[in-house]
Amino acid sequence: MGEIADLSAVPVLAMPAAAERHDFLSWLTTTDHKRIGILYLLTSLAYFGVSGILSLLIRTQLARPNSTFFNAHQYAQLFTLHGTAMIFLFVAPFAFGLANFLSPLQIGAADMAFPRLNATSYWLYLFGGLVIFLGAATSEGAAASGWTAYPPLSEIRVSTGLGQDLWIVGVFLVSVATIVTSINFVTTVFIFRAPGMTMWRIPIFTWEMIATSLLVFMAFPSLAATLLLLFVDRHMGGHAFDPAYGGSPVLWDHLFWFFGHPEVYVMILPYFGVVSEIVPVFSRKPIFGYTGLVLAAFAIAGLSMGVWAHHMFTTGVVNNPFFAFVSLLIAVPTGVKFFNWVATMWSGSISLETPMLFTIGFLLNFLIGGITGVMLASPPIDYQAHDSYFVVAHFHYVLGGGSLFAIFAALFFWWPKMFGVKLDEGLGRWCFGLLFVGFNLTFLPMHFMGVMGMPRRVFTYDAGGPLPMLNLIATCGSYVMFVGVSLFVVNAIISARARIPVGNDPWSANSLEWWTSSPPPEYNFESLPPIRSERPVYDARVARS
């Protein structure tokens, strides 16, 4: 092993860097992938904060039956903005922010392939989000037809306000940003890998982001085109979705969900990657079934292009059995991933620091979301559950219990690498505990509400029966979650003030980002270790000892 140690410190070709600037203008004009990544992450967290407040307002309205805290129109804006922001401005962009920061480091590159394009997509994303929220300042308020904006409801003769137009423009800008950044990402990974970093040595997170980016190529153009069609319908006399002139509302369903279901996997595959990075580190073992995990990611991505009409089981105009079958099949590669993670922990040496706690939370919550997902793949179950709170519970278990918990795991895990300081463990545990309890209190009762006949997107409901009690429990849970998220903000501020420095590799981790300093220099690496497996930093550690 001594020979390998001698090979370490292979010099990397990097431009000699000018002194790093840290003023405001340098952040505004930066093309450094790490800074753009951090801008992406902080912006998406800001949108998460706003969208989270909206969800608290939603839960406050629903805490009691026949509530008049908000009226129906205000409530419709709340759930439209909440869904739009969480999906388009938080869960997916956070993943691209993380990939922006991490993936060039994980493959030993100095930057992304197209740094200026990278900056462009960030600014498109930021302003796209602001345009969506700008609707709230117009006379008729923000968009109020849900994040799915089904026509004819979203057509000009029903939704007359400017808010709906701003929604179309904003989501369009974000979709362009997402397409551009995924092109940049795939190019980077395909051509910028360091010597020795073969495709089968790429860390799983970066693999998952390749699969995610390919999904974006295929799905997001459909979204962009659909939004344009709706805009043409609204302002240029188009009739794409108007049955009176030969159009069809079902066309929207097809085009929108052709994007919309792959989008679900755009919002979860990156977080499968996060989990696949964290479990081995805190189990002190290599990831189990590396090849299987990569193949499963592509199987999920491929299958997810053929399941869109399971959102349309109750329309009565699609081939339900076909889409049921493909939807059920997705459970198989997802199960493979689950078993791989459990096998990685198996006979390991498991320590439960905050990133691992959130990862366990992800596994337990996502399991429930996955099981209800298999149930919803059955059309006769959809006949009751579709558009009900059962579906609301399901997708929150996937995106809230799944993606959100992985996001917190990622924040706690990579925070030291991004900012050079570690978040406080004690506060981190409280943050996890409150979020886990609060999350399940909020969303577990919603399964029952749905089966009992409570539709989603209602601004109030009648007294009597079990619904008021179930709703009250859910509202209390959402407030507990709010305290948990606030603790994270407190933690970030305290750790920034304390400035306790961390070394290059505080977790004894595996992939290349832990080789360089925390935070990394502008050019990323002074040197690289030899890359002989998917865990070069582990190999170097073994060689040294």
Binding site: K285, S349, I350, L367, Y383, V451
Partner: protein, 224 residues
């Protein structure tokens, strides 16, 4: 009126759906429990203790990996066959239904036109907070007989949902979709719009009254 609580499973189609629910729930619960037990067992059994040596660095077991691909494949294959059969029974449409009702949804009410019979309808009271006072539409169905519903909408997409029948279908403008309901329980059940359709979406309610065939005939006569 029965609603907003555990559903009563009030039609022949609903019984098929209820068994399908239970099957998926049972299989899902079994898989879920197994996985949770595995995770918790691993966490307890292999929790790191000070001075622990590095654990064994295995990373593959092809037999195991093939097994946990093939077994789930067989499970979802079985679930698909079951759900395919269930759906075929639920979606089947009788040649000679006892009654045919054209249901039309609009913002924010319902019209029920019985073929060769009356047309009834109305918008609902809605929650007290809205203060809208109109007559709620009532769909009358004969017990033990099959009624064919022809569903459409005049303005935006609505959803025709009777939670106690475990069934809903989207009402889409420009499109008519057809399904059967065969009530097996007498009573009055709540029906509602399931697809967000604007400001009074939550108050777009209707009433389903299941009566004996003779009472149904008498009701039809009284309305025309």
């Amino acid at each position: 009126m029965h609603g907003n609580t555990w559903p009563v499973v009030g039609t022949g189609q609903a019984s098929v759906m209820a068994s399908n629910w239970l099957l998926f729930l049972a299989v899902g619960a079994c898989v879920g429990v197994i996985v949770v037990v595995l995770i918790l067992f691993a966490l307890v059994r292999w929790r790191r203790r000070p001075g622990d040596a590095e654990p064994p660095q295995f990373a593959n077991n092809y037999q195991l990996e093939v097994a946990w691909t093939v077994i789930p494949l067989l499970i979802v294959g079985g679930l698909f066959v079951a759900t395919y059969r269930a759906e075929a029974r639920i979606d089947a449409v009788a040649d000679q239904p006892a009654a045919i009702v054209a249901v039309n949804a609009y913002r924010w009410g319902w019209t029920f036109s019985y073929r060769g019979g009356p047309t009834v309808g109305g918008a609902s009271n809605g929650p007290a907070s809205l203060g809208v006072k109109q007559q709620m539409a009532e769909l009358v169905l004969p017990l033990g007989e099959t009624t064919r519903i022809e569903l459409s909408s005049t303005d935006v997409v609505h959803g025709f949902w009777i939670p106690d029948f475990l069934f809903k279908r989207d009402a889409i403008p420009g499109q008519t979709t057809v399904f059967d309901v065969s009530p097996t329980k007498l009573g009055t059940f709540e029906g509602r719009c399931s697809s967000f359709c604007g400001l009074q979406h939550e108050s777009m309610l209707f009433r389903v009254r299941v009566v004996t065939p003779s009472a149904f005939a008498a009701w039809e006569k009284s309305q025309t």
